[in-house]
């Protein structure tokens, strides 16, 4: 590790020392220390469950630590509430969920510390003018009186940042700020972060994406299993170093792609369109093939896939499966026909939290495990065991609530659930989003195995390494249309990005 000389002489804006936090049965954080310096971006990296979000909640006053100290400018402080943290100048910009859709832009910026009239009432006029000024500072020319729900995700981010400025924050926490942003919006965010740095803010940047960490951060801190396992300057480290610290072992970004003889066409989609979401989707999917769908978030890939399985109705288009024309009006019919979709939003669309693992797995296959409408538990356990063990699920028992599993293991249950229906075509939408590296590798390996067994796989992914590592062919979508098709041999990251972002090919 490079000697950290620049910041060792600087006084941290906020310093955590020996912070511990445990919940019944879990040590979320043990003896963690972290310092954030003015005018510097510190990246916090770690697998899911490493304790990052617990730390954010302690920093913002949502949780109180069991032990340890928080010093702001050298002075020890306690954050008994979110407002106490805000008063101390610590603010967090979360993923889009942390604003109020039904309130105005101005109120979203000033809620909790709105300007008051001499009588103690909220001064809407001043709030709107102040909001306009703050928005201009972050480069957004928005009308402060419009409702937030009418803004796009990128504008909502700007509102969140304006909010951070409104409390004159000195410490700004960004929790996966780019997760839902487009390519262009991400770059605008980078510029804004640079400006915040220049203003002397101390920034904590939490992300799973190494390219952006190396683009934007000055320092890094790595968490593993609730402990701080490394920190230093970004300039003195490599991606491999960070990954090794995160997982505690060497993990090469190796994709277990097996060479499979591609068979005859299984699924043919032609002229598929929807009034507002996508149009002109035409492709063939062959036996044993992994077909990647690449694009930026919001390119219409999930919308198309969900239409294919009957969640929404297309306005036109034909689907043929094994030379049979299909009309699919509901997921139940899709499953019957042999097309299954493993959705992107695991917690909302995939796992049924509150129900045991085995019941999650057998839900779409109940017609097979039951007899004339009556459940047969033994059959259910048998089916659940067969598929969860193929995915190397780690759980205490099959009767355990799926909500008690880690994200990666939940994803294994979800995949097992749809696989147990014995599909001909499986569509995986962002199958490794937000899961730990170990589970990621297991999912990739399993995907290869499925293709090798003759299943046809569609993989929607926004991660270039995953798309390039796993796909036999790639279709790129942008704004609801197919804008590129690439064979495995001709794949390059640059081609994919250009097609997805709509940048025309420059002269070679």
């Amino acid at each position: 590790m490079l000697q950290d000389t620049t910041t060792s002489r600087m006084k941290p804006a906020i310093a955590l020392q020996g912070i511990s936090k445990s919940f019944p049965g879990v040590h979320a954080l043990s003896d963690v220390s972290l310092s954030l310096y003015p005018g510097s971006v510190t990246a916090l990296v770690g697998e899911n469950g490493a304790g990052k979000s617990t730390l954010v909640k302690i920093l913002t006053g949502i949780y109180q630590p069991d032990g340890g100290t928080i010093r702001v400018d050298g002075e020890e402080m306690h954050f008994p509430s979110a407002s106490a943290a805000a008063r101390a100048g610590v603010t967090a910009i979360h993923q889009e969920t942390v604003l109020f859709d039904e309130l105005s832009v101005a109120e979203n910026i000033f809620l909790g510390h709105a300007p008051r009239t001499p009588f103690g009432l909220i001064d809407w006029q001043r709030m709107n003018t102040d909001a306009r000024m703050l928005l201009e500072r972050v480069g957004a020319s928005l009308d402060p009186s419009i409702r937030l729900r009418d803004l796009g995700i990128a504008s909502k981010h700007l509102v969140a940042i304006a909010r951070a400025l409104s409390i004159d924050a000195r410490v700004v926490i960004m929790d996966e700020p780019t997760a839902a942003l487009s390519y262009k919006e991400i770059h605008e965010l980078y510029e804004l972060i640079d400006r915040l740095k220049a203003d002397g803010k101390a920034i904590l940047f939490i992300s799973h994406k190494f390219d952006e960490i190396f683009r934007i951060a000055d320092r890094y801190t790595v968490f593993r299993d609730g402990r701080m396992v490394g920190e230093g300057l970004i300039a003195g480290t490599t991606q491999d170093d960070l990954v090794r610290m995160m997982v505690g072992r060497d993990v090469g970004q190796v994709f277990p792609k097996q060479e499979v003889a591609i068979g005859e066409p299984v699924l043919t989609v032609s002229g598929y369109r929807h009034p507002t979401e996508f149009e002109d989707i035409n492709f063939e999917l062959r036996r044993g093939e992994i077909l990647g769908f690449y694009g930026l978030v919001g390119a219409g890939r999930s919308e198309f896939m969900q239409s294919l399985i009957g969640i929404t109705r297309p306005s036109a288009g034909a689907v043929r499966l094994d030379d049979r024309v299909l009309v699919i009006r509901s997921p139940a019919e899709a499953i019957e026909a042999g097309i299954v979709y493993v959705p992107e939003e695991r917690g909302r669309q995939g796992a049924i939290i509150g129900m045991p693992i085995f019941q999650n797995v057998t839900l779409p296959s109940l017609t097979r495990t039951s007899r004339s409408g009556f459940l047969r538990m033994a059959e259910e356990f048998r089916l659940a065991r067969e598929y969860t063990s193929r995915l190397d699920l780690r759980a205490a028992s099959l009767d355990q609530d799926v909500g008690t599993l880690s994200g990666g293991n939940q994803q294994k249950v979800v995949i097992a659930k749809w696989l147990a229906t014995k599909p001909k075509v499986i569509i995986l939408d962002e199958p490794t989003k937000g899961i730990d590296i170990g589970s990621k590798a297991a999912v990739h390996a399993f995907m290869s195995e499925l293709a090798a067994q003759g299943l046809s796989v569609i993989m929607v992914s926004s991660e270039i390494p995953e798309i390039m590592g796993m796909s036999d062919r790639v279709i790129v979508m942008r704004e609801g249309r197919m804008v590129g098709r690439f064979e495995r041999a001709e794949l390059s990251a640059e081609k994919l990005v250009r097609a997805a972002a709509g940048i025309s090919e420059t002269a070679p």
Binding site: I62, S81, L111, G112, D150
Partner: protein, 325 residues
């Protein structure tokens, strides 16, 4: 998009005007100012209660115990008056408002501290409050002749040709408008219902805000309890039985989303007025008063269907046809 929010109320105004016009076709006397004043006066109590319910619904809760709270406070007001006929009426009102707020705070505490679902809590307290009236009175009525003239007279007291009952409701509407739009607590009601998770990060205590909403609805129910008992000059166990549903209906018609976070004071007032007009119009146009219940049922269903349509998110439009070159 502020337009849309205003439109919701505008739509209701149009519906009310249409309703009044329709009634006037059959019975021209309906639009006479004196009659409209009577209709408003008759709706005053519902307006006050709907505003309290609105605060609760905004925070993603519901208060089914409001009518029972009203009945209990009304009975207590009557009992106080019978026991100490000379006690000034403002003191009686202060006592029942405090009692109503205390009863509301029981709901609030159970929701806040024990996390029991609001519908369960208020279902329970609804029966408890009504039962308590029985325990207090043994099922006895308090009749007009037992109440003092001052007690009965206040709602009818005339100021600028308008009864005090109407003035009370106007006052409450004005107060609630200031509370809901200009105070931190009022805005917190919206924030808690709109996005409870985000509210925590904003430094708002979700449970405490809900508690305050219940105290507010309880206090208003207590005040309404005095108004009800003094206006109708009778108190017994079953007064305002089932009225909690009228209150919720007024809110739903007024565009207050049962999912929380959406609503306004004018909406609640208009919703209550809509119900009040129907109630008062039916007899004069010779529709059996027995039809009133069925009609309010239809109105609730239509209102919720219309609201749902307005609230439905427009899907994310990915295809940009207009921009296509």
């Amino acid at each position: 998009m502020n337009m849309l929010l205003k439109n919701r109320e505008a739509l209701l105004v149009v519906a009310i005007l249409a309703l009044v016009a329709l009634v006037t076709l059959r019975f021209p006397g309906f639009v006479q100012p004196a009659n409209l004043g009577r209709v408003y006066n008759d709706t005053s109590i519902l307006i006050i209660l709907a505003l309290g319910q609105m605060a609760v619904i905004l925070t993603r809760c519901i208060d089914l115990s409001m009518a029972a709270n009203l009945a209990l406070c009304g009975m207590v007001a009557g009992l106080i008056n019978v026991a100490w006929p000379g006690l000034p009426i403002p003191l009686v009102i202060a006592a029942v408002v405090a009692l109503g707020a205390a009863l509301g705070s029981i709901n609030g505490l159970l929701v806040w501290k024990l996390n029991i679902p609001p519908i369960v809590v208020t279902l329970g307290t609804l029966t408890i409050f009504r039962g308590t009236i029985f325990l207090l009175t043994g099922g006895q009525w308090i009749n007009a002749h037992q109440m003092s003239e001052a007690f009965k007279g206040l709602p009818r007291a005339d100021l600028f040709g308008i009864p005090a009952l109407s003035w009370f409701s106007v006052l409450i509407v004005a107060l609630m408008f200031v509370v809901m739009t200009r105070t931190a607590t009022g805005r917190a009601f919206f924030a808690v219902g709109g996005n409870p998770h985000a509210a925590v990060y904003t430094g708002i205590d979700v449970g405490r805000t809900r508690f305050l909403a219940y105290c507010l609805s309880g206090a208003l129910a207590g005040f309404a309890g005095y108004l009800w008992v003094s206006r109708y000059a009778v108190a017994y166990v079953d007064i305002a039985l089932g009225f909690e549903l009228d209150i919720i209906a007024a809110c739903v018609i007024g565009g207050i989303s049962i999912a929380g976070g959406i609503g306004s004071v004018p909406g609640a007032v208009l919703g209550a007025l809509f119900l009040g007009i129907i109630k008062n119009a039916l007899p004069v146009i010779n529709i059996s008063p027995f039809a009133q219940m069925a009609i309010s049922g239809m109105v609730i269903i239509i209102a919720v269907a219309v609201n749902a349509r307005a609230e439905r998110r427009k899907g994310r439009v990915i295809l940009k046809k207009a921009e296509a070159h």
